[in-house]
């Protein structure tokens, strides 16, 4: 069964993309660590971290695409799962500091010491062990998504209503994590990490390894997502996206299908967050900002929703643009970014990848049509996922 799942997932595009990611996972760290800084092929550590960050964003966008592109659930709260995964990892990293904090308290993180906490809150126990933290990275977002989805999908909350309550969810989490009384460091969040699994978090080697881990995680998720999407389950997802009632009347438990996709997606987002935190060195409630979740939607849309490669390209494009623009035109980059979103929605409604696919498909169809003496009047364009958008 599992093998059939894998075999199906590996169509040519995905295979190449995954292979490319694996190559990056090896090549970039190698170029960073093994070449001299003035070597023409040297990749500076700055770029390693930067691209490592993009890869985690790409993973987040891919996770969103699974629910939005294939299942029609526009989650405006996906950054929350990302942040939750990040917090789980951050808590592990905080516990690793141990007695090396400013106050030399072996148990309590610094922010608890100076706010006079006397003992470690119960939910911080266990995070000194990596395996536990790693488990929490998927369990916590997964569980929250499961509970949230269980109620929402069972009650058939749909369309914009669902989008807005996911937004309410991330907003509520934002406010909650801002509270210093919660025990997550309030606005400052978790920071000042020292090491991960015993390796210095600032060392070039660790950064390279984190980059490789991000690339690997993305490649793996790509294969898994592709497997899901290409299975009969994936077909059901698309079916319920386009015609939910019909799918129900065929006897599918739509709420279970959605719940599974939503939970898996949240777990992927959690993994992305966990890889993100050690690379940027901080996690704070700002990651729960509703605006962040909207940005993820935008990366996915720019790349092409409902395609697997699209969100990856979109995340890297938009964030790369942001990195360049914020330095090159610090006063005007928002015009560029805002303009980009408007132009993409107007002129590339299917995103970069979707448009390219459409173009290729049309050319293929055109050739096929020529061969068959132009028999049918096909409307390739009219079948896009936005049919479901009208819901």
């Amino acid at each position: 069964m599992i093998t059939s799942f894998l075999v199906k997932s590996l169509d040519r595009t995905i295979l190449i993309a995954a292979a490319l990611l694996l190559a990056l996972a090896v090549l970039v760290p190698a170029l960073n660590l093994l070449t001299a800084p003035d070597h023409p092929l040297h990749v500076p550590t700055y770029l390693v971290s930067l691209f490592g960050k993009y890869l985690t964003y790409a993973l987040l966008a891919l996770a969103l695409d699974l629910v939005w592109g294939f299942c029609g659930i526009l989650s405006l709260g996906h950054a929350a799962f990302f942040a939750l995964g990040g917090y789980a990892m951050g808590m592990y990293l905080m516990r690793q500091i141990g007695a090396r904090g400013s106050y030399g308290n072996p148990l309590l993180p610094d922010f608890m010491v100076f706010l006079n906490w006397k003992e470690l809150p119960w939910f911080w126990y266990g995070f000194d062990m990596f395996w536990f933290a790693a488990l929490m990275v998927v369990v916590v977002p997964g569980l929250i998504a499961f509970v949230f989805g269980w109620f929402a999908f069972r009650s058939r909350v749909n369309g914009v209503y669902l989008s807005i309550i996911t937004q309410a969810m991330t907003y509520a989490l934002l406010l909650a994590f801002f509270r210093n009384d919660m025990g997550f460091g309030g606005n400052n969040g978790l920071t000042d990490f020292k090491d991960i699994l015993g390796f210095n978090i600032q060392a070039d080697g660790t950064r390279a390894a984190l980059f490789a881990a991000s690339a690997l995680a993305l490649a793996l998720s790509l294969v898994v997502t592709s497997g899901i999407v290409r299975s009969k389950f994936g077909k059901v997802l698309v079916a319920l996206r386009d015609a939910e009632s019909r799918t129900r009347f065929l006897g599918y438990r739509v709420e279970h299908m959605k719940l599974f996709a939503f939970t898996v997606s949240a777990m992927m987002a959690g993994v992305a967050g966990a890889l993100y935190v050690p690379q940027v060195g901080i996690i704070n409630p700002g990651e729960f900002e509703p605006g962040n979740s909207i940005e993820v939607v935008i990366w996915t849309a720019v790349g092409g929703r409902g395609t697997l490669i699209g969100p990856i390209i979109g995340a890297i494009l938009v964030n790369g643009g942001k990195s360049i623009f914020t330095a090159a035109f610090p006063e005007f980059w928002l015009f560029a970014l805002g303009g980009l979103f408007v132009l993409v929605t107007l002129f590339l409604p299917k995103g970069v990848v979707g448009t390219a696919q459409q173009y290729l498909a049309r050319r293929k169809a055109h050739r096929a049509a020529e061969r068959q003496d132009g028999e049918s009047d096909k409307e390739q364009g009219a079948t896009a996922p936005e049919a479901m958008a009208a819901e």
Partner: protein, 250 residues
Amino acid sequence: MTGKKPKSLLYLDGVSVSFDGFKALNSLSFIVEPGELRAIIGPNGAGKTTMMDIITGKTRPDAGEVFFKGDIDLTKKDEAEIAQLGIGRKFQKPTVFENHTVWDNLELALNRRRGVFATLFYRITGEDKARIEEILSIVRLAARRDDLAANLSHGQKQWLEIGMLLAQEPELLLVDEPVAGMTDAETAETAILLKEIARTRSVVVVEHDMGFIRDLGVKVTCLAEGSVLAEGSIDFVSNDPKVIENYLGR
């Protein structure tokens, strides 16, 4: 409970439902026997579609009983459960999965285990393939098996949807205006198809097209304002003065 209940396939008694004060169904009672083909007529707003909604679990009645196969209370179940029990439904507007191929549409409809993991690790078997091929030829779409459903003509979509219902292997089939928008030839063929289908299962057809209903030649129920106005053969019903006043005459 009446003695009739255990024998009948579908049993509705005293079903009422209202939307914002408007009584869509008013103490409706209705029985379908196993293997029966039944036609339902009635003016717009008579409660035909609402009745189907109630049978398939989309709408919950305010009052009344709905039983399937004697003792299965349908009012306590949702759409997916009811579909899995063996009640299929065809919508007024053809509803197929436009972004899937004809083949995938039928594969999805096939009466197999429909759980999350069952579908996730599903692998098509020779038996399933044969069944899909069979249905493809019944609904005359074999040549278009790899085309997206979106690219089918209106009539073909109707047929694909009927094919999907066949794949679902229901014991009771609810069909809402199957010939709307079809050519005369298509309509005639659809009548034949439905009669064929009704040989192995019960079918309830909602239609406006009196010619089509005559073609079917079955027992007819006329609904108006949420309750049964008349029931019997087409000739009997169409001569009923109440029916003429409420429906045909206008």
